[in-house]
């Protein structure tokens, strides 16, 4: 049986086990349900879990390791000249064998005979069954394919047997345990909690995965360039570093990128924070609930628009507009500049500030407002002097979240920030950011096994650390804030 069929059977078995357990439990004490610890459903669940879970776990592990075994087995019988080749070539040969094997399974016995007789005929037959192969298969390949099919059949049989054994054994074991005193509910719930726990470990594993996937390449990069130079260098000009110029190492300087990243984020915050905060204040304190109910989700749409759309908006609309405004007032504003990217990014993160702040302001206990009104304060005085100071830590948390979003934003800056790594204070000039460089170093025409591309991973790692720091800080602030109200 194939894996999916097996799983399906196990599911059926689990259902049967469930029903059995259910009925058995009902019989345990038909007159006094209270005398039985757990409800029949839990007994059923207990039985079903014992029946299916071990078998499923074993099956999954088996299926994960099976291909390697089969591969090794079939490989060992490949023609000698194939085996001499590299691992990749063996892999390719195996690919052909697999295709042929699939093809053979789709043929009728008569066709199989015909296919064996003539490779050309085999190719034609396979193609007619939807299996395209590049060249007519040699006899050895067909032999290997048959072997592959045989081993697969065997493995499947064994798998089925093991699964059946485990299911039956589990069923019997659990069935004998069914009794009024069995804490079936607790057992089943333990499994549920374990499953929940496993789910929450995915987040951890993701982080581990991220760290691992950038760590090794970063280390490789730091073999070329010293970590100190990377962190403290003020010049980003990796291309010319590779020439082996004197002082070339310093040209992987993170600082201009870091500055660009922070500068754009700051501009974005300068746009988003006042607008977002004032909008939040108006929505939570002044606006009619109906207005709030429409404005809030409408603003939230700003965060839902794909950033690539913002990117083009920046290049096509905002950049030229700023440039035009600049020329009207006698300023040179480059179309891609800190301002362009910052403003557009600011628009994007408005909802992060407005929605979160709105929630936070609304959560400020009404007692504070009443306390202030009671002293004869106007509404704006109350907001400015009581509500905002009280909400400040939460608002700071929201702003930090928006900031980390801005720091990590890619598509807008790729299109709107520019790529010159400038250490400039002038917001009308273009700077570049860490994310821009990650994309361009990875997708460019650069030679791939050089520090120029490896640096992308080091940059990714830096970015990860940066946002981590911000988040830890945000959490610290939010924690503090929580305590104040509890």
């Amino acid at each position: 049986m194939s894996l999916s069929a097996l799983l399906f059977c196990l599911l059926l078995a689990a259902i049967v086990a469930f029903v059995t357990g259910f009925w058995r439990a009902k019989r345990l004490s038909p007159d006094n349900p209270r005398a039985v610890h757990s409800r029949p459903g839990y007994h059923g669940g207990y039985l079903a879990l014992w029946t299916a879970l071990p078998a499923i776990l074993v099956l999954l592990v088996w299926s994960a390791v099976e291909p390697r075994f089969i591969q090794a087995e079939v490989e060992s019988n490949l023609p000698a000249q194939v085996l001499e080749g590299s691992e990749g070539q063996i892999g390719l040969a195996m690919g052909v064998v697999r295709s042929v094997a699939t093809g053979l399974e789709r043929l009728t016995p008569a066709e199989v005979a015909a296919a064996k007789a003539s490779p050309k005929e085999a190719q034609r037959l396979f193609e007619s069954k939807g299996v395209v192969i590049a060249t007519p298969p040699a006899a050895a390949v067909i032999a290997s394919a048959e072997e592959l099919n045989n081993i697969r059949h065997l493995s499947r049989l064994a798998k089925t047997a093991v699964a059946a054994f485990l299911a039956i054994f589990g069923f019997i074991f659990a069935f004998r345990k069914l009794s009024p005193n069995l804490r079936a509910r607790n057992r089943v719930e333990q499994v549920v909690i374990l499953a929940l726990m496993a789910a929450s470990s995915v987040a951890i594993m993701t982080t581990v995965g991220i760290v691992l996937s950038v760590l090794f390449e970063s280390i490789a990069f730091f073999k070329h360039v010293s970590i100190i130079d990377f962190l403290t260098g003020t010049i980003w000009d990796p291309r010319f570093a590779s020439a082996g110029d004197a002082g070339g190492q310093g040209q992987f300087g993170l600082l201009p990128l870091m500055w660009g990243t922070l500068y754009i984020s700051i501009v974005a915050l300068v746009v988003a924070v006042p607008i977002g905060l004032l909008a939040a204040i108006y929505m939570s304190e002044y606006a009619h609930p109906k207005v709030r109910a429409t404005v809030k989700p409408a603003l939230e749409m700003l965060a839902g628009i794909p950033t690539i759309v913002y990117g083009f908006f920046a290049v096509v609309t905002v950049g030229p507009f700023l440039n035009f405004v600049g020329s009207e007032i006698g300023l040179v504003i480059q179309p891609t500049s800190v301002l362009t990217a910052g403003i557009v990014m600011g628009i994007m993160i408005i909802p992060f500030v407005s929605s979160l702040s709105d929630d936070i302001i609304s959560a400020i206990p009404n007692a504070l407002r009443e306390g202030s009104y009671g002293l004869g304060a106007t509404q704006s005085e109350t907001i400015k002097r009581v509500i905002l100071p009280a909400a400040l830590p939460g608002i700071v948390g929201a702003i930090l979240l928006a900031a980390s979003r801005a720091i990590g934003e890619t598509m807008i800056v790729v299109l709107a920030a520019g790529i010159a790594a400038n250490l400039t204070l002038n917001p009308a000039e273009s700077v570049t950011t860490i994310t821009v460089k990650i994309v361009s170093q990875l997708t460019g025409d650069l030679e791939f096994n050089t520090p120029q591309t490896l640096v992308a991973f080091a940059l990714g790692f830096t970015l990860f650390i940066l946002t981590l720091g911000l988040n830890v800080y945000a959490l610290y602030i939010v924690r503090k804030y929580r305590e104040q109200y509890e």
Binding site: A367, E370, G371
Partner: protein, 277 residues
């Protein structure tokens, strides 16, 4: 038969003596006429009228939901802050209708201070809590002026000695009873004419309650105080006049002695003898 009698000390006879004789005309600080309050469709208060004398404590009692808070919040137009609330009738404070056409509720609230059920100090320093009112109303000419106001208010609220070393500590860091006294100090700091208190002790422990009651007794000498309470013993202990509310109606209003010893209405009697509530 269980005896719920209140001992003389609780209904301090000396206070009663210094209280206001009912029959005699007094200068009323607040006069309410035909006040009805609606929350949306629902009427919470039905044409209530009352006269509240200055320099004394008037207690509102009655079972939960009878409209005590609603009525109290009419006196400083606090009900304005509830979108669904509508107030009809007139309320004169010092002879002027605070629901008149060109009255600014903000100014009303400066004249009629309020203390709430749950102590609600601002999350600022103790000093800033008290200084807040004077600042927004521009009551202090200078820094030292402001300091003086703050200190005096804290002293009056009987809190100064406890907090004088940590005026720049957080107001929320005080104990519940201290917080409530801080709120009273905050209210006093804008020198209101009236102080409204909505169950000021219901969130406090007995010792803190006793302190607040003492304080109310002292403040009475300078302010017109209206207090809502659930606790009849408390009403008896601190007030000179008592008004009993039931289902949105003002059932009976008289000197505290009269209400507790000689209630005219059957409902009042049932309530104070614990038949309900």
């Amino acid at each position: 038969m269980v005896d719920f009698s209140i001992e003389p000390s609780a209904l301090n006879s000396s206070r009663t003596a210094s209280g206001l004789p009912t029959a005699q005309p007094v200068d009323y600080k607040i006069t309410a006429r035909n006040v009805s309050v609606f929350y949306g469709e629902k009427q919470a208060l039905f044409s209530v009228g009352i006269d509240i004398p200055d320099r004394s404590v008037t207690a509102f009692i009655g079972p939960s939901g009878c409209g005590k808070s609603t009525f109290l919040r009419c006196f400083n137009r606090m009900n304005d802050t509830i979108a669904s609330a509508r107030v009809k009738g007139e309320i004169l404070v010092q002879g002027k209708n605070i629901y008149g056409p060109d009255v600014d509720p903000v100014q009303v609230r400066a004249r009629v201070g309020m203390v709430f059920q749950k102590p609600n100090p601002f999350p600022k320093t103790i000093f800033e809590n008290v200084a807040y009112g004077p600042r927004i109303h521009g009551l202090a000419k200078s820094k030292s002026d402001l300091e003086e106001i703050v200190v005096k208010s804290l002293q009056r609220a009987g809190l100064f000695n406890e907090v004088k070393d940590r005026l720049d500590g957080e107001g929320t860091g005080l104990s519940g009873g201290q917080q409530q006294r801080l709120c009273i100090a905050r209210a006093i700091a804008v020198s209101p004419e009236v102080i409204l208190m909505d169950e000021p002790c219901s969130a406090l422990d007995p010792i803190a309650t006793a302190k607040i009651e003492e304080l109310i007794d002292e403040l009475r000498e300078n302010y017109c105080i209206v207090i809502v309470t659930h606790n009849m013993q408390q009403a008896a202990r601190v007030s000179q006049r008592t008004a009993f509310f039931h289902l949105g109606y003002l059932v009976e209003e008289d000197t505290t002695d009269q209400i507790f010893m000689n209630p005219k209405d059957k409902r009042t009697q049932d309530y104070i003898t614990g038949r309900f509530g």
